[in-house]
Symmetry: C2
Subunit: 376 residues, 2 copies
């Protein structure tokens, strides 16, 4: 195997495929990148237990495949070398099936290849009808929901993001049982029946990072136990999480006791200051107080040991002035507010100890649900 | 105590004095900032076991002292609050000697004050003749030497930086016994006798960070066990390390077997690539090989497990072509090279297992000594 490639093209390709590398694994081969040069195509493949990534490059001015062949190169070292070498072109040659030479400008690197027969078989073809999503929209969906996934594995299903496709609507839900993020999108799908899958949150976050380098549409293929994303010359496969995602459809009702419209940036600043007053477990809370006789909302936080902050925020609109108090974790509230890109948000309340909903008039597709805390 | 102050002025002042705060200490009072309002002056003081910092602000358009008094405010919280509040002006008021109110725009913060009588006495006057240094030069001296200090406390004296003032020359030395950094500077001093002190490396690094906000000259006052830096309205006091610094005067001789002049940036790139090949203890080495018959220098690094890199570097000048090999820790060599700001460096060698010296024709005041390793 021998090829000459533009350093920039190789570097960019490795940035994408390296997302599928294992860092620590009982199977060292999973720390390698499979390279296959064949029929004027150069293929890069990585795989770990969760995801597999493939990029296929065609011969071009930037890539000259001199000799066909294949090998598995130590991933981290290959990536780091290409990041640090200079020169416009890189020559990669496999000797004796065991030694990979990487030549660029004045640098002459030699790496030991992994035993290529140990590399697992990877499949990047699911023969299903794809859903087409804009790359930018998919990135936004992940950013607006993934933070709400459970970070511990007590209930594995909650470490995944739930996608439902029904008629021409995609609904994406993430929850750790203390808060919930729900985002809907219009799509054109040819599916007749409802489809529901659970994608590991980490897989979607990794794919979302790769998408920073792509503007093309993403084709999403779904099978029983896998989901495959294809964008331009890149394929990204993830396993699915088995099991039934909790039914959350009744959690976001349409009747409310009270709604408050607020400037989002202003509210973020206030919550940021309130988050200074942490308790002995490093958690901070923020309390909203409305009064029948005032047009302002008092937002406060305190810690018996340290002190207290009180702020007055002028709402843009309140549905009805009334005596009302509710408190939230500052972290969860902050995450929810940062998921929006709008100028204003509306908070809907049903009671002082019932879940609140945050949305925005200019982004009704996104709803953030927060369970209040009883600290005051 | 009550004063109104510009938020920017308060924020900048706190950035400087907070360098003297203890993070974790059996004495909580050392996590506080002492505030003293008196005679149209507002004084901020912090102290821990190593250093003390004081800033004195005069009444001005940016500072209105409304009522004299003093208190000790929780340092970290005061700093964080001022960083996050909005508005141009901040009002700080002490109530009942126990409660500090911080008002700004819509924010109303209350903090519990520390018991002010517990705050240690601090002294910021040493009645000695000062040495005057340019702020920029002092920062450069610290950057060019401090990295060579010992990071472990096996020999406390090596965790300090040694300063010698003799005639009109300042000599600054740092060493961890594997490498040594020496920087000389011309100063105008009125001292008749030689002065030698050891300043804790961490103290100098903290003061150097504060200096980023100052362009004025720095006055340095030295006593038996303390050093005091004064710049504009800021005073920075550090304890000295007791004991005799090792005599290193014979380590940098003037006779050499071989010298090589190299482009510094090029050499840094090569060493950066060589540092990829770490051994089982996470250490990497780089080997320089010269040959009687070649004008190039071969720079190489290898790891039996991973692979090998060989580079050819064209030197700007070699004193005499000869067969010669020497190896260094890539980390130590990199630190030494980064201490220079010059285009070229010269490496002086006395033998394959004897210390090498790095300097630059355009910066002869700086010398970096490296002990070679025998790995090849």
């Amino acid at each position: 195997m021998k090829f000459e490639i533009s350093r920039t093209l190789l570097d960019n390709t490795l940035q994408s495929v390296s997302r599928g590398l294992s860092n620590k694994t009982p199977l060292p081969i999973l720390m390698g990148i499979q390279l296959i040069a064949k029929d004027n195509l150069l293929t890069f493949i990585t795989t770990n237990k969760e995801i597999s990534v493939r990029v296929i490059l065609e011969s071009s001015d930037d890539l000259d495949i001199i000799e066909d062949g294949s090998c598995v190169v130590p991933g981290k070292y290959f990536v780091d070398i290409v990041k640090r070498i200079e020169g416009e072109k890189v020559e990669v040659t496999l000797f004796d099936q065991t030694t990979i030479k990487i030549l660029s400008k004045n640098s002459d690197f030699t790496l030991r290849a992994y035993e290529k027969n140990n590399f697992p078989n990877t499949n990047f073809d699911l023969n299903t009808q794809p859903i087409v999503l804009k790359s930018k929209e998919l990135k936004q969906i992940v950013k607006q929901t993934s933070f709400a996934c459970a970070s511990t594995e007590e209930r594995i299903i909650l470490t995944s993001i739930n996608l439902t496709i029904k008629d021409d609507q995609l609904t994406v839900i993430a929850t750790d049982s203390f808060r919930l993020a729900r985002r809907t999108s219009s799509i054109s799908s040819d599916f007749n029946s409802k489809i529901q899958i659970n994608i590991p949150c980490k897989s979607l976050e990794e794919f979302s990072k790769i998408l920073n380098d792509y503007n093309e549409d993403v084709n999403v293929y779904i099978s029983n136990n896998q989901v495959l994303f294809k964008v331009a010359n890149l394929s990204f496969m993830s396993r699915l999480v088995e099991g039934t995602y909790p039914d959350t459809s009744s959690l976001i009702p349409n009747d409310f006791l009270l709604s408050i419209k607020l400037n989002r940036e202003e509210l973020i600043s206030v919550v940021n200051r309130a988050s200074l007053f942490i308790d002995s477990e490093n958690i901070s809370f923020v309390k909203f107080s409305l009064s029948k006789n005032s047009n302002n909302i008092e937002i406060s936080s305190n810690s018996t040991e340290i002190g207290r902050v009180v702020e007055n925020l002028k709402p843009i609109e309140v549905s009805e002035n009334q005596d009302f108090q509710i408190a939230f974790s500052t972290k969860y509230l902050m995450d929810a507010l940062k998921a929006f890109e709008t100028q204003d948000v509306i908070m809907y309340f049903r009671g002082e100890i019932r879940p609140a909903i945050i949305t925005s008039e200019s982004n009704v597709e996104l709803k953030q649900l927060l369970i209040p805390v009883r600290t005051f």
